[in-house]
Amino acid sequence: MHYSADEIMTVSAARMLRNGAVCFVGIGLPSKAANLARLTHAPELVLIYESGPIGAKPSVLPLSIGDGELCTTADTTVSTAEIFTFWLQGGKIDVGFLGAAQIDRFANINTTVIGDYDRPTVRLPGAGGAPEIAGSAGEVFIVLRQTQKTFVERLDFVTSVGHGEGGDYRKRIGLLGGGPAAVITDLGILRPHPTSKELTLTNIHPGVAIDQVRAMTGWSLSFSSSLEITPAPTTEELAVLRDLEQRTATAHGAAPV
């Protein structure tokens, strides 16, 4: 079955989520992947959105982080204050699922500005929930499209910490969460090296050339010696994903980005 680069990215990201995990979901690509996981192999995945819903089970993808269906399908909805204090900071989250505008070799994330902070070329939306999700979740998955503009040698601004300067940086500065465990892109999957924590390509999607990944990475990319080809999306995965996108488009007028 034919599939797009975005589809294998979403499917690969969804596969990262084990059934029963408690997942704090960022809006956009992470929300799409998390809901695909819930609708396929992980029916008991617990989705928590920063607006307050705990255990949301939306039938269409939310356009915003606080669509009404998140609340009506949730086990309960608490205040945004409680979500961040008792649930995220309180250590109840297994997996934080984030997007990013820029990422560096240690999976640090910029979602604040391109250019100088005081006179930015592009003002991005900012931090949102990401810094504390990146800090406190048990582990973090990041999903974004891989380009020279997004995979950069040096971030213009560190909004959320991945593995900092690498090695035991997180432990050294006192972060309790485990940090990024994988970065899933439209070209492959990168994982931090066990000791240096530098992102290493461990999976490449079918039909993608290594040179293509290298060209889309703003630093000299390391490859795993046991680099694997990502299994193609199954017919069921694609069917569920497309059905979800179709329902969403019908509901919103267009699929969320």
Binding site: P53, D67, G68, A81, T112, A127, G128, T159, A251, G253
Partner: protein, 285 residues
């Protein structure tokens, strides 16, 4: 005790030039009608506080009511940029907007500290990020028991909180349900509180442990059905996701934005049911 007032009177009396104003509502119950009234009354030099500026602050900033913004995520949710916010930051139009930013968790701490009568809130956060380099609101504090370093955020105590709720009773008790965001914290942190509501009823009849603001912490309750549109009011109407997508087009150019605001907001003689007007808006856009 809250007074039941027309929205124009409440804004006229309770929102002054130079005030720090927090219009809250996390995606849900965003107080558009009240924001539009602030625009119509041409307030100036407001410090706008809000976790997610959303379209309402994009409109208020574009119309020049603010000279400062305190926020944590400034995009059009699921769509992209807030073009008027970006224009203000990137090109100082219509004015040079000072910006102070936190994360969501940081804003939450600031509101909670304000509501709790504390000068600051304590959190795990910002360690290793560049945010403390650009925001003096983020300091560190040492636990007197463990020696751990934590982040400290000063309380926010707005002059006015502006929120939208599902309903109030005739004495001004307010019920909010669904995604309740930080409205209670923002209201309790503020000196004055304006609440617009979908309806005013004889009896509130909240479920047990509901999010209720008693009348005596509310300054004014204003009837504004549809007042959260194009955001939503659970139990009344859905979020108009199409409008959020449409706004991306309306707001890209200064001229189109100004025209749209003139026709749809300024030309209204007072609070209008914006939601009912939407078919008209689509034509204009």
């Amino acid at each position: 005790m809250a007074r039941i007032l027309p929205l124009a009177d409440a804004v006229s009396e309770l929102v002054q030039d130079g005030d720090q104003v927090a219009c809250e509502g996390f995606t849900h119950l965003i107080p558009f009608a009240a924001g539009h009234e602030i625009i119509r009354q041409e307030r100036k030099n407001l410090t706008l506080v809000r976790m997610t500026p959303d379209l309402i602050y994009d409109q208020m900033i574009g119309m020049g009511v603010a000279n400062k913004l305190l926020f944590s995520w400034g995009g059009n949710p699921g769509v992209g940029s807030l073009h008027r916010l970006r224009d203000a930051i990137e090109r100082q139009w219509p004015t040079n907007l000072a910006v102070e930013e936190l994360s969501h968790a940081g804003m939450v701490q600031a509101y909670m500290a304000g509501a709790a009568g504390l000068p600051f809130g304590t959190m795990r956060g910002f360690t290793g990020t560049d945010l403390p380099k650009v925001n003096a609101r983020i300091k560190s504090i040492t636990c007197p028991f463990t020696g751990e370093n934590l982040a400290a955020i000063p309380a926010i105590r707005p002059d006015v909180a502006v929120i939208h709720a599902q309903k109030a009773d005739r004495t001004g008790n307010v019920l909010i349900w669904g995604i309740i965001g930080v409205q209670k914290e923002a209201a309790l942190a503020s000196k004055r509180v304006i609440v617009t509501v979908e309806e005013i009823v004889d009896r509130l009849e909240p479920p047990p442990n509901a999010c209720v603001l008693p009348s005596w912490v509310v300054s004014a309750v204003c009837l504004a059905p549809g007042g959260a549109y194009p955001s939503y009011a659970q139990g009344y109407y859905d979020r108009d996701n199409r409008f959020y997508q449409l706004w991306d087009k309306i707001s890209r150019s200064r001229e189109q934005f100004l025209h749209w605001m003139k026709v749809n907001v300024l030309a209204a003689s007072g609070p209008v049911n914006f939601r009912e007007k939407f078919s008209n808006m689509e034509r204009v856009a």
